[in-house]
């Protein structure tokens, strides 16, 4: 009896895996005329909808990050120009965003252009900058559509490394969609994780210089709030296509406890089933990762508590009159210190956000004047 059940179960499983894996292997076929838009309208077909509903019965990632690798290899494979590979890659991004929305994944971060990519040939870099400019101009033309879907676009990276006109287009796009809050697309442009972390440290040092915070206020949580991605939660799932198994300086801080899925499909050939496969991996890893994350958070809280205690002990030693305080007074001093530290940190983060907003607004007013 048990053998029969096991047999049926295995058949069911094998057929389901076959459906998912087989669909994932089927190429997208002849390229249709794609709407070059950021948002691809359309719904899932019946089988896709069914699979989506089954997946949604389990834990779903709220924020997915993509390393969209494989555009050039795709172009070589299809014997087309490299630029065509990048264009198809962008179209695939629009399609993937629509799938994510259908799967109720409301935040997506993509790695569009690394600071290391500046090392490529001038032609290729110029081509990519031009493609980006066209896309951001197109974005501004589609404002109504974006408002309808509530899409908020953010660009993470060191924008000062980009040509000024592209900076201005980006600034206008980000400012225009700033208030939207249904779904979020973070585009990493002129970005590497090390630059992001070094920039966060520099911002904290700026805070110290301005007298907004003390060096003892520096903590893991504060560093996280100073990253370019401070307005987003950490990604639950990171997907890299084209078979490479490295992170290439992408969200190294934010993905320390994320589920990493490396898939061999090339980005322009990515399909809904590849995405389902990745989400399945996420669901299998959900519990152990949750446990690891909770443990890390507890450790962080403990460290913060110890740091606050050490600061208070230091303060009492310097400002006290030599007499040791009783436990209650010490506890009061600790609570006061923690409250004042948190207030300092909030003021600093407010000032930092204002600095970043002003940078973008200045760019948009420059663009308006030009």
């Amino acid at each position: 009896m048990f053998i029969n059940c096991l047999f049926i179960g295995i058949c069911l499983y094998v057929s389901l895996m076959y459906v998912i894996r087989c669909n994932a292997c089927i190429s997208t076929g002849v390229s249709e005329f794609f709407n070059m838009s950021w948002i691809r309208e359309g719904e899932l077909n019946l089988i896709e909808k069914l699979s989506a509903n089954i997946l949604k019965a389990g834990p779903m990632p709220k924020h997915v990050a993509f390393i969209m690798d494989g555009n050039r290899r795709y172009a070589r494979k299809r014997h087309v120009e490299r630029q065509e590979g990048h264009t198809q890659g962008f179209d695939k991004l629009a399609e993937t965003l629509r799938w994510c929305l259908n799967l109720s994944i409301h935040e997506v971060t993509v790695y569009a252009f690394s600071i290391e990519n500046f090392k490529r040939s001038k032609d290729e870099v110029d081509g990519l900058m031009e493609l980006a400019k066209q896309k951001f101009i197109r974005l501004l033309q589609e404002q109504e559509n974006l408002e309808k879907h509530g899409v908020c676009i953010r660009v993470l990276g060191d924008l000062t490394l980009l040509p000024l006109d592209l900076q201005q287009h980006i600034a206008r796009a980000v400012v225009a969609t700033r208030t939207h809050n249904k779904c979020f697309l973070n585009v990493c442009f002129a970005y590497t994780s090390r630059h992001e972390i070094a920039n966060a440290v520099r911002e904290m040092a700026w805070g110290v210089e301005q007298g907004l915070i003390k060096s003892s206020d520096v903590s893991e949580a504060l560093l996280g709030h100073c990253l370019y991605s401070s307005n987003s939660p950490n990604p639950d799932l990171l997907i890299r296509t084209s078979g490479e198994v490295r992170l290439s300086d992408f969200l190294l801080w934010q993905t320390s406890h994320s589920c990493l899925v490396f898939q061999s499909v090339l980005w322009p050939e990515y399909s809904f089933w590849n995405l389902c496969d990745a989400i399945l991996q996420y669901q299998l890893n959900h519990r152990p990762l949750q446990k690891a994350r909770d443990q890390h958070r507890e450790g962080q809280a403990l460290q913060q508590h110890e740091a606050d205690r050490a600061c208070v002990a230091d303060l009492l030693q310097h400002h006290g009159n030599g007499k040791p305080l009783d436990a209650q007074r010490r506890q009061e001093a600790l609570l006061n210190y923690t409250a004042s530290r948190e207030e300092r940190v909030q003021d600093f983060l407010g000032a930092l956000q204002h600095k970043r907003d002003s940078f973008l607004t200045d760019l948009t007013s420059q663009a308006a004047l030009a």
Binding site: G9, I10, L12, Y13, L16, I54, L55, K56, A57, G58, S114, E116, K119, R120, T192, S193, R194, H195, I197, A198, V201, R202, E203, M204, A205, W206, V208, E209, K214, S215, S216, V218, S219, E220, L223, E244, V245, R246, L247, S248, D249, L252, W253, S256, H257, S258, C259, L260, V261, F262, L280, L284, N285, P288, L289, A292, Q295, H296, G299, Q303
Partner: protein, 281 residues
């Protein structure tokens, strides 16, 4: 309708777990079966062969065989197109087996990898590093000869000093035992150091860049970033392993460190040797 979807989802996940368990079970059975077959063939042919199957641990090979093995492993390392300078062993499993990890460390060093790091998510190795060291020394003696054993130098990852740089030069291989504190916490400590310098007007915020932060986070000037991390266990994550250092690290997953064989390690190294790093270009 939602109940139906939930039921199907539950069934799917139960089947996936069964699938995973069956694969692990088959892998171990296949190896044991292979091992028994080989041991019979060996005893029948009376041909000395290198010890490569874990269930034959109770057979202690003669010294001659150990030398043979060391040279074979060294030759294997040289035969690869590229060998990582620094390999990380990320144990993402609940209960670490010290003997298996010690084997991995000894094999890595025998193959010619200069820096080996061992990491687990709970900081168990850090807390029990003396036990790990003992196990490594024991496995060294079992697997290698006296000459090979001398080449192991053990160093703990802590703030680099010149003295430690000298120690590193005299050893052929260096082992580092890492914990989550060496990851984000180290970066935060470096950030605090820089902010203190700014507070004391020794630096300005504009002096802070990737190079400055990197030099603070580099334990000694000679230690390279990990080129390859072998992850053991079913969890698909870095689990806090050195976030700053892994920007270009290749990640290869192996199902488990329990009963891992030299062949498993070598095939992972072969896979590493075949990958191409374009470095953004």
């Amino acid at each position: 309708m939602a109940i139906v979807y939930e039921f199907v989802w539950q069934v799917l996940h139960v089947l996936l777990h069964i699938h995973r368990t069956l694969i692990t079970w088959f892998r171990i059975r296949l190896r044991n079966w292979n091992g028994r077959l080989w041991s019979r063939a060996l005893t029948a042919l009376i041909v000395p062969m290198a010890l490569s199957f874990p269930n034959q641990k109770n057979i202690v090979p003669a010294p001659g065989k150990r030398v043979g093995r060391r040279y074979r492993w060294g030759a294997d390392g040289k035969s690869l197109e590229k060998l990582p300078d620094h390999i990380g062993l990320l144990i993402a499993e609940e209960e670490p087996r010290y003997t298996d990890i010690a084997n991995l460390v000894v094999w890595c060093m025998a193959v010619g990898i200069s820096y080996v790091s061992v990491y687990d998510n709970y900081g168990v190795f850090r807390r029990n590093n003396s036990r790990l060291m003992d196990e490594i020394l024991k496995q060294q003696q079992e697997l290698l000869d006296l000459e090979g054993s001398k080449q192991l130098c053990v160093e703990f990852l802590n703030n680099g000093t010149d003295k430690q740089d000298q120690q590193v030069l005299s050893c052929q291989s260096v082992l580092k035992v890492l914990s989550p504190d060496d990851g984000k916490l180290r970066i935060v400590q470096a950030a605090q150091q820089l902010c203190r310098a700014v507070e004391q007007r020794d630096k300005t915020s504009n002096d802070i860049n990737v190079t400055v932060l990197d030099s603070l986070l580099r334990e000694s000037k000679s230690t390279p970033d990990p080129d390859l991390v072998l992850k053991f266990g079913p969890v698909e994550s870095t689990l806090g392993f050195l976030p700053w250092h892994i920007r270009l690290t290749e990640f290869i997953s192996l199902p488990s460190h329990v009963g891992v064989s030299y062949e498993d390690l070598f095939s992972a190294l072969q896979r590493y040797a075949s990958c191409e790093q374009r470095l953004g270009k």
